[in-house]
Symmetry: C2
Subunit: 178 residues, 2 copies
Amino acid sequence: MDELRYDERVAIARLHALLELLPTALDRELATTGLTSFEFTLLEALHEAEAGRLRLTALASRTNATLPRLSRVVTGLERKGLVARAACEEDGRATNALLTLAGAKAYADSHPLYNRAVRDMILNGLGDDGVNRLAELTYSILSKLDPERRLAVSTNGASAASAASAAAACAADPVPAP
Amino acid sequence: MDELRYDERVAIARLHALLELLPTALDRELATTGLTSFEFTLLEALHEAEAGRLRLTALASRTNATLPRLSRVVTGLERKGLVARAACEEDGRATNALLTLAGAKAYADSHPLYNRAVRDMILNGLGDDGVNRLAELTYSILSKLDPERRLAVSTNGASAASAASAAAACAADPVPAP
DNA sequence: GCGGATTACTTGTACCTGAAACTAACACCG
DNA sequence: CGGTGTTAGTTTCAGGTACAAGTAATCCGC
């Protein structure tokens, strides 16, 4: 009765295969930089944030991570010297994560590799209109899965971010600790 | 230099968000049946296989699972009575997994729920041509990620399966053990 | 301003996964 | 046959994640 049509099954099966293969493929690419795909996402989110700093809750929301997970991974990045924690002056409960200089460098170093991987694995096969269709399709699907567009921030650094979350980061010393 | 264009970044960011959200959303839906999304995939693969049986290696290849993972999950499904292991007569090393009656029922019960979830979360937003575009796009991307089409079997039960892998299952007692 | 409720994060616990090591069975070749 | 190498699967182990409990700080109603 609510059986899927053949073309629908084909599309879903392929999407399923994509979901299965792409994340691990990207992880494998990034592995040469010593970063996890998720760690890279964190660095990227911090890089695109207002002052290279973001509260952990905001960071978790943007990356769809649970807070425990984020806490541990940030600790790991802190141990590697790529990220630092800074207390928030306005709210004693809050902690914001910020990029260190080494963190910014690590991001800058791994970014082109990531872009290359994305180009090779995804974009090259599609033409310009393919990219557009991909953007439209994913937009449609995401409107169901992520109505508040929590994860839709990484494309433009400022506009949506400042509108969506008033207190993503709270002011503190503007210069990252050495 | 190899920076991504704006529209490319948008498409990739959305795809990334999709990759992040869809699997867990589907898992959440299926959780009511007591099945993992991966377990459901296994039941589906067995259901679509020639005689409801498949060698573990073939099953692992079709589902992109490592053999250790598959071994454990099959053990779990065996404990639940949904799947049984059967020795292969032709090759003493091989084991094939087969659906029990309870397993076939569990698949039949969870299948409509899965279809409904897929419809709600993915298909409904897209029109008929959206489905076609999705199928084409994922096909393009998968040609890079899965050139041998290991995962592209679940759409038609017999034709591609028999061609792709000669010995996916080896003959044994044709009736599942009670 | 003080006590309960809420928020932000951290730690403890259990589970799941992948890589590596291991066992068993076949295959080839002398 | 007997030995070497390969294939199929299981087991062991380390790492990562989610859920739940714990801690600290803020908010709010009186």
